[in-house]
Symmetry: C2
Subunit: 83 residues, 2 copies
C-alpha cells in the first residue's frame, strides 16, 4: 500500500480571490507580517500497487484526469510506502 | 522573508464527504486501485520575519486563529527561508 499526497495549486498567473480574502482577514486580525496567502488543495490517496512506479503512475493519472484542472492548476505528488 | 505552507486536514474521526465523492468519481473512471481519498487545504504564506522562530510563530498563530478549525481539523506547518 502506498500513500500519495497530491498538492494542487493555482498557476502563479491565476488570481486567487479566496487567498486574497484570507490575506485580508489575517491583516484585519493584526498579522501585518503575513505578506501574501495563496490557497491550494491537498488530496491524500491510498493506493494499492505492487511497485512504487505503479503507485506513482496511478497518482499522476488521478491528478491529470480528475484532481487538477490543467488549464489553471499545477500539481505535485509526494509518494510514500505505507508499512 | 519566509515561506510557510500550512496543511489543514480533517481529523481522522471526521467524515469527508468531498473526499468520498472524489473516491467514487475515481472508481467510476476505473481507478480501482485507489482505496481512499481525503481532501485537505494548503495555505502558502509569505511571512516577513527576522528569525525562523518569529516566522514559525506567525504561521502557528494564523493557523490557530483563522486557517484551521481546532474542533474538526489538524494542521502542520512547513517553513522555509526564501532567498
Amino acid at each position: 500500500m502506498y500513500r500519495a499526497k497530491v498538492f494542487v495549486t493555482l498557476k502563479p498567473s491565476i488570481l486567487d480571490p479566496k487567498g486574497k480574502a484570507t490575506y485580508n482577514a489575517l491583516a484585519n486580525l493584526g498579522y501585518q507580517n503575513i505578506k501574501s496567502v495563496r490557497i491550494g488543495k491537498m488530496f491524500e490517496l491510498e493506493i494499492e500497487a505492487n511497485t512504487e512506479e505503479k503507485a506513482q503512475e496511478a497518482a499522476e493519472n488521478a491528478a491529470k484526469k480528475l484532481l487538477a484542472n490543467d488549464v489553471m492548476e499545477d500539481y505535485t505528488i509526494e509518494l510514500q510506502e505505507d508499512k
